[in-house]
């Protein structure tokens, strides 16, 4: 019985949010949106959470998962309702900076085309910057890790340049690159490059010497030791570098887009802020949050695939 309840907690949470919304009038200080978007939003989730609860009777694995996560999502419904009371219903905070749900959702319903365009623009920038940055960072790291000469001549420069926030270079890169887009890609790539290079080189340098000795006594060539011993052994830390790199990239992306860009999520937020449309700012923040979460989930999924062998030895 209690388990069935757990499976319907997401639905009950949504019911609470819905009751709060229909039973209490919105504060009149809030400007009215063109439509009752928040109601649509709640109808959708009432239906979805109810269907999920029913479906769980038929799917065994899903049932166990839902019993675990059900209470959390029920709690989310309550949090949504509390925020609604504080902001939408009683306007406890200044309405200009804290718009009600209807107005935030209106940004999605009425301006989805521009938001999608912004997501697409940011994705192009992020993917290009991330790929360039991590590939070059990886190569730099491998050379730093394996070659003493390279380390001697190049490492001091990397130590000097690396820790500087990549966004510092925005004014210079804007003059070097013919387009603001190219400049932004460069900034994102630079921010990824350092953490990947650093983690790769330090990971390779801390590979147990015994691994190389084993492979040498088995008749391994130098190339084999680099590609089949050193790099695989360093892979978990390299991935950590990629993880830090992508977080740096988000930061750099948002900053870079605020200069000279025509689209992009970072640009969207600064544009909405400039026009004092705070509902747009929140819409942008929601997009960024979901976007970053999706990318990190993808990255972790990829890691689990590549570093399958790590299962049981290390988790982060």
């Amino acid at each position: 019985m209690i388990n069935i309840l757990k499976r319907f907690l997401p639905f009950l949470g949504t019911v609470i949010a819905f009751l709060v919304h229909v039973l209490i009038e919105d504060d009149i200080e809030h400007p009215e949106a063109e439509d009752t978007y928040y109601s649509y939003f709640l109808y959708f989730f009432l239906t979805a959470t109810f269907i999920i609860g029913v479906v769980s009777f038929f799917l065994k694995n899903f049932r166990a998962k839902l019993e675990h996560s059900g209470p959390f999502w029920g709690g989310v419904g309550v949090v949504v309702a509390i925020i609604d009371i504080a902001i939408g219903k009683y306007a406890l905070l200044p309405v200009l900076f804290f718009p009600k749900y209807d107005n935030i959702l209106a940004m999605f319903f009425e301006g989805y085309d521009i938001i999608l365009k912004c997501i697409w623009h940011s994705t192009k920038l992020l993917v290009l910057g991330f790929v360039y940055g991590s590939v070059i960072g990886f190569i730099t790291g491998v050379f730093l890790g394996f070659s003493k000469k390279f380390n001697y001549w190049v490492n001091p420069y990397i130590k000097l340049i690396g820790p500087i926030p990549a966004t510092i270079w925005i004014p210079i890169s804007l003059t070097i690159f013919p387009t603001p887009f190219g400049a932004s890609v460069f900034i994102v790539a630079l921010s990824v490059w350092f953490s990947v290079a650093l983690m790769t080189s330090s990971a390779i340098q801390s590979v147990p010497k015994a691994y190389f000795e084993v492979s040498r006594t088995l008749g391994a060539s130098g190339a084999f030791q680099v590609f089949r011993v050193g790099i695989p052994a360093a892979m978990p830390s390299i991935f950590l570098g990629v993880f830090y790199g992508i977080i740096n990239a988000f930061l750099a992306l948002m900053t870079a887009e605020m200069f000279g860009a025509k689209y992009g999520i970072g640009w969207y937020i600064s544009w909405q802020k400039a026009m004092l449309v705070y509902s747009g700012v929140y819409a942008g923040i929601i997009v960024i949050a979901v976007y970053c979460m999706l990318i990190l989930t993808l990255l972790f999924k990829f890691r689990d695939k590549v570093l399958n062998w790590q299962k049981g030895t290390l988790k982060w």
Partner: protein
Amino acid sequence: MVTENKEQLKGAIHIEDLVKTFISNEGETVTALNGVNLDIPPGSFVSLIGPSGCGKTTLLRQIAGLATPTSGGVFVDGKKVTKPGADRGFAFQQATLFPWLNIRDNIALGLKARHIYKEHKQDVDEFIETVGLKGFEKSYPHELSGGMNQRASLARALVGHPNILLLDEPLGALDAFTRMAMQDEIHRLWETYKTTMVMVTHDVDEALYLSNYVVVMKARPSKIEQVIHIDLPFPRARTQDLFVAYRKKILEILNFAGKIPEPEYYL
């Protein structure tokens, strides 16, 4: 007949005036090996035994080519050793399997490194069977016990059919019972493949149980004290009289035989 046999058996080790010195952290010159001369006939099982700091591991690494001598040299089948090679397998104290490879890929590592895996696939299967790891090919090292990992590491060192197998306390990290079982395993591998075995150990019983020759080394200055030919047939029993007598002899050379103090009064 005799000459033909000599041609067949490879893996003779000749060590000539081998000197190895290190510079310590304090800047002093430390002599790890002080002019070692030793001839190991092919197909024999030699144990290097002695206290810590007597240079036995250094000597083993010299034969492997993992370190270069200060002067003198090691010759394997008449050729001077300058670097590690697939003709000399090496089993380390820790199994040092690669955690990202499963047991089968770990054992096949040397064959893959030398690009001869395709022709020798069945050798890998044979060795998995020999060391009793059938059914665990797809397991990862962290899923198996220390003894099983060590067996995989022996298979990895032997699968390329080296003429010589160098063992650096390969059983040192195992518990006493696993250790005795593994000694039988090593003995069986030696009898099957006729590999020249050189093993570093701290364990007198282990050396006696497995070897034709026990090389007793001493520290400060590090040198070979005595080479003892163990003239006992295999299989050996750890409790037989001659075995015990050999143990007494070795412990006496190492000054570890101990002494029961004479009582002052007899009643």
